[in-house]
C-alpha cells in the first residue's frame, strides 16, 4: 500500500500546538497563575523558546544541502538570522531576571546583527530566482538600505519633534529602525513569496511578514510609553503586542516547517497515471514495465 504523505497530519498537529501555546501564553499573561515573578520569567523565556524552534527548523532545512549548493547559502543565512534573534531573546530574558530592561540593551546587538544575515538570505534567494544584474542588485540594495537607515532617522526626528517620548534619541531611533527593517524584510519576503506563487518554497518567507506587524505594534507602544514590561500591569495592549510577537515566531516556525516537510518527504506525489497518454499504451497498475532498468 502506498504511504500517505505526512504533510497534512504534521501540519495539523503543528497548528494545534501553536494554538495551545498561544492560549497558554495568554493564560499566563492574564491570569498570572504562577507564584511571584515566575509568570514574567516564563513569558520572557517563552520568546526564547519560540525563536529557538524557528531557528532550529531553519537549521534542519539548511542541513539538506551539500556544501557549495546555492540554496544552502539562503538557508544558512536565514537560520543564522533566526539564531541571532533567539540569542537576543535569551539575553533579554536573562537581563529581565535582574532588572527592568532598558529600551536599548545588549540584546539589541544580536537583534540588529541578525538583519545582516536576513538581508544576505534574501539577496541570495533573489539571485537564484530572479537572476538580477549586479547593477539591478546594487540599485535595490541601496534603496532598501537608504529607506531603512534614513527613513528611520527621519521618522525619529518627526516623532521627537511631535512628542516627548521619554526616551533617549538612540532608544527612539532603534525602536523605529526595527519597524523600518522589518517592513523592508516584509516587502522582500512578499516579493519572494509572490515569485514562488503557489509553490511550497514560498511559504517559509511569509512568516517574516508577521514580524513587521508585531514590531510595529511593539514600537508604537514603546514610543508612546504604553508598553508595560511586566504582565502584572494588566495592559491589554501590551498583552496583544507580546502575543503577536510570540506568534510571529511560532508562525515563522510553522511556515518553515512546511519547507522542512518538503525537503524531508518531497512534495505530495502526483500519481504517474495523471500523465498517462492512452496513445502511449501506459502500464496497467501493478505491472512492471519492460523499460524498467
Amino acid at each position: 500500500m502506498a504511504r500517505t504523505h505526512p504533510y497534512n497530519k504534521v501540519m495539523l498537529g503543528a497548528i494545534l500546538t501553536v494554538c495551545l501555546l498561544t492560549v497558554a501564553f495568554l493564560y499566563v499573561y492574564w491570569v498570572y497563575p504562577l507564584p511571584g515573578d515566575w509568570n514574567d520569567t516564563v513569558l520572557n523565556f517563552s520568546f526564547t523558546f519560540a525563536a529557538t524552534i524557528a531557528a532550529w527548523i531553519a537549521t534542519l532545512i539548511s542541513r539538506y544541502f551539500k556544501q557549495g549548493e546555492p540554496p544552502r547559502r539562503v538557508w544558512m543565512n536565514l537560520a543564522l538570522g533566526l539564531w541571532g534573534w533567539a540569542l537576543a531573546e535569551l539575553i533579554w530574558a536573562i537581563l529581565a531576571l535582574f532588572q527592568e530592561v532598558p529600551n536599548t540593551s545588549w540584546a539589541d546587538i544580536p537583534w540588529l546583527g541578525a538583519y545582516y544575515f536576513f538581508a544576505t538570505a534574501f539577496i541570495e534567494q533573489f539571485r537564484l530566482i530572479a537572476h538580477p544584474t549586479p547593477a539591478h542588485e546594487h540599485k535595490w540594495l541601496s534603496i532598501a538600505l537608504g529607506v531603512v537607515i534614513l527613513g528611520a532617522a527621519l521618522v525619529t526626528l518627526v516623532v521627537r519633534a511631535m512628542a516627548d517620548t521619554g526616551q533617549t534619541w538612540l532608544d527612539t531611533y532603534v525602536s523605529i529602525f526595527y519597524v523600518f527593517a522589518d517592513m523592508t524584510l516584509a516587502m522582500a519576503a512578499l516579493k519572494i513569496a509572490r515569485t514562488f506563487g503557489n509553490g511550497l518554497l514560498g511559504r517559509a518567507w511569509i512568516g517574516l511578514l508577521i514580524f513587521a506587524i508585531s514590531d510595529l505594534i511593539y514600537s508604537a507602544l514603546l514610543i508612546t510609553g504604553l508598553y508595560a514590561q511586566s504582565a502584572k500591569s494588566n495592559s491589554v495592549l501590551s498583552m496583544f503586542a507580546d502575543a503577536t510577537y510570540f506568534d510571529a515566531y511560532l508562525i515563522t516556525a510553522l511556515t518553515l516547517l512546511t519547507n522542512y516537510i518538503l525537503y524531508r518527504y518531497g512534495p505530495k506525489p502526483i500519481p504517474a497515471s495523471a500523465f498517462g497518454d492512452p496513445s502511449l499504451e501506459p502500464l496497467e497498475p501493478g505491472k512492471v514495465s519492460h523499460t524498467d532498468r
Binding site: 539538506y64 544541502f65 551539500k66 549548493e69 546555492p70 540554496p71 544552502r72 537564484l128 530566482i129 515569485t195 514562488f196 506563487g197 503557489n198 509553490g199 511550497l200 518554497l201 514560498g202 518538503l262 525537503y263 518531497g266 512534495p267 505530495k268 506525489p269 502526483i270 504517474a272 497515471s273 495523471a274 500523465f275 498517462g276 497518454d277 496513445s279 502511449l280 499504451e281 501506459p282 502500464l283 514495465s289 519492460h290 523499460t291 524498467d292 532498468r293
Partner: protein
C-alpha cells in the same frame, strides 16, 4: 550490408521466408531488441529493426541505395530463394544507430586512414558542420556516433568491442584507435528522414531539460532535484518510455515509431515536469524556467521544438 557491430555476438544461419517468420515470432514473444539482416545472393540486403519484438523498421539496401519497405508483406521482397539471416540482439542506443545507418545508406565517404589522422578528419567535419553518422573501425572495436553540425553527440555514441558501451565513455574509447590504421565512414544525414528528425528532437529535448534541471537544481538543491527525478522516472516508466532522469541529466534511449508518438511523449514529459515544479516553486517560476531554457536554445533548436506541439507556452 550495413556491417555495424561486427564484433557483437550474432547468430548466422541460412533460411527461407518461413524460417524468418518463425524467427520473428520467437523474437516477438521474447520482446527482443535487435536487428535481423537478410543477405541475398545479388548483393542486396533486408534489414529489420526490432523493438520489444515488434518490427519498427524495414529497409531494402543495395550498394547504392536504401529504401523503406513494408513489413507486412515479406513476399514482396523475398521470393523463394534461401538467404543468410544474421540476427543480433542490441540495446536501443545501438538500434538507433542502425536505423540512422539504414536511412542514410550508402556512406558518403569511406576512408582508410592512419589512426593519427583521425583528429584531422574530425576537424574537417567540424569545419564543414557535417551532420551524419560517423563509423570508425579498427582492429580492437568500432565506434558509431552521430554528428550534429560537426560535433559528436556523445550521449548517443556506441562502442562495440568484446563488450558494448555507450555514451561519453564509448566516444572517448572509440576516438583512441588501438591499431595504426582505421576505417572511417560517414553516412551523411538526410534531413527529411525520421531518424534525423528524431535525432534533432532528442538533442533539443535533452538540452532543454538539461537547462531546466540545472536552474531547478540551483533553486531547490540536489535533494529536491532527486525527488523530482524519481517522480519523473515513474511517469516515464508508466508510459513505457525508455528515458530517465539522473541528476541534471536526461537519458533518452527510446525509439519512437513515429514523430507523432515522439511529440506526444515529450509533451507528457514537459507537462509532468511543469506540474511537479509548480508544487515546489510555483507555476510562475516553473513556467519562467521553461521559458528561459527555451530562449537558451539556439534558433535552429527553437525551430525544431516549435515544429512539434511539445511545450505548453500558455504557462509562460
Amino acid at each position: 550490408m550495413i556491417e555495424f557491430f561486427s564484433r557483437a555476438q550474432a547468430n548466422i544461419a541460412r533460411g527461407s521466408l518461413s524460417s524468418l517468420r518463425d524467427l520473428l515470432e520467437g523474437f516477438r514473444q521474447q520482446q527482443v531488441n535487435g536487428v535481423v539482416e537478410i543477405s541475398f545472393e545479388q548483393r542486396e540486403w533486408i534489414d529489420l529493426l526490432l523493438l520489444n519484438g515488434e518490427t519498427v523498421g524495414a529497409y531494402h539496401l543495395t550498394d547504392r541505395s536504401s529504401n523503406t519497405i513494408a513489413v507486412s508483406n515479406p513476399e514482396q521482397w523475398w521470393q523463394g530463394e534461401s538467404a543468410t539471416i544474421r540476427t543480433l540482439n542490441l540495446p536501443t542506443n545501438a538500434l538507433r544507430i542502425i536505423s540512422m545507418a539504414c536511412e542514410w545508406h550508402p556512406p558518403a565517404q569511406s576512408l582508410l586512414i592512419q589512426s593519427s589522422g583521425l583528429p584531422g578528419v574530425l576537424r574537417v567535419f567540424l569545419e564543414n558542420k557535417t551532420s551524419g553518422l560517423l563509423h570508425v573501425i579498427d582492429s580492437a572495436g568500432e565506434l558509431a556516433v552521430p554528428l550534429m553540425d560537426g560535433y559528436p553527440v556523445a550521449g548517443e555514441a556506441v562502442y562495440s568491442a568484446a563488450q558494448m558501451t555507450s555514451g561519453r565513455q564509448a566516444l572517448e574509447r572509440g576516438l583512441q584507435p588501438a591499431s595504426n590504421n582505421c576505417t572511417v565512414r560517414l553516412y551523411e544525414a538526410r534531413p527529411g528522414t525520421t531518424s534525423f528528425k528524431q535525432l534533432v528532437l532528442r538533442q533539443v529535448v535533452a538540452e532543454m531539460t538539461g537547462n531546466v534541471l540545472t536552474r531547478y537544481n540551483r533553486i531547490v538543491g540536489s535533494n529536491l532535484l532527486r525527488v523530482m527525478g524519481n517522480e519523473m522516472n515513474q511517469v516515464l516508466r508508466y508510459n513505457r518510455l525508455q528515458m530517465q532522469f539522473v541528476g541534471e541529466q536526461f537519458d533518452n534511449s527510446h525509439i519512437f515509431r513515429s514523430m507523432d508518438e515522439a511529440t506526444r511523449s515529450y509533451n507528457v514529459l514537459f507537462r509532468a515536469l511543469y506540474m511537479h515544479m509548480t508544487q515546489v516553486i510555483g507555476g510562475g517560476l516553473a513556467g519562467k524556467l521553461q521559458k528561459e531554457a527555451y530562449h537558451n536554445l539556439n534558433p535552429r533548436s527553437q525551430v525544431a521544438i516549435d515544429a512539434q506541439s511539445i511545450l505548453n507556452t500558455a504557462h509562460w
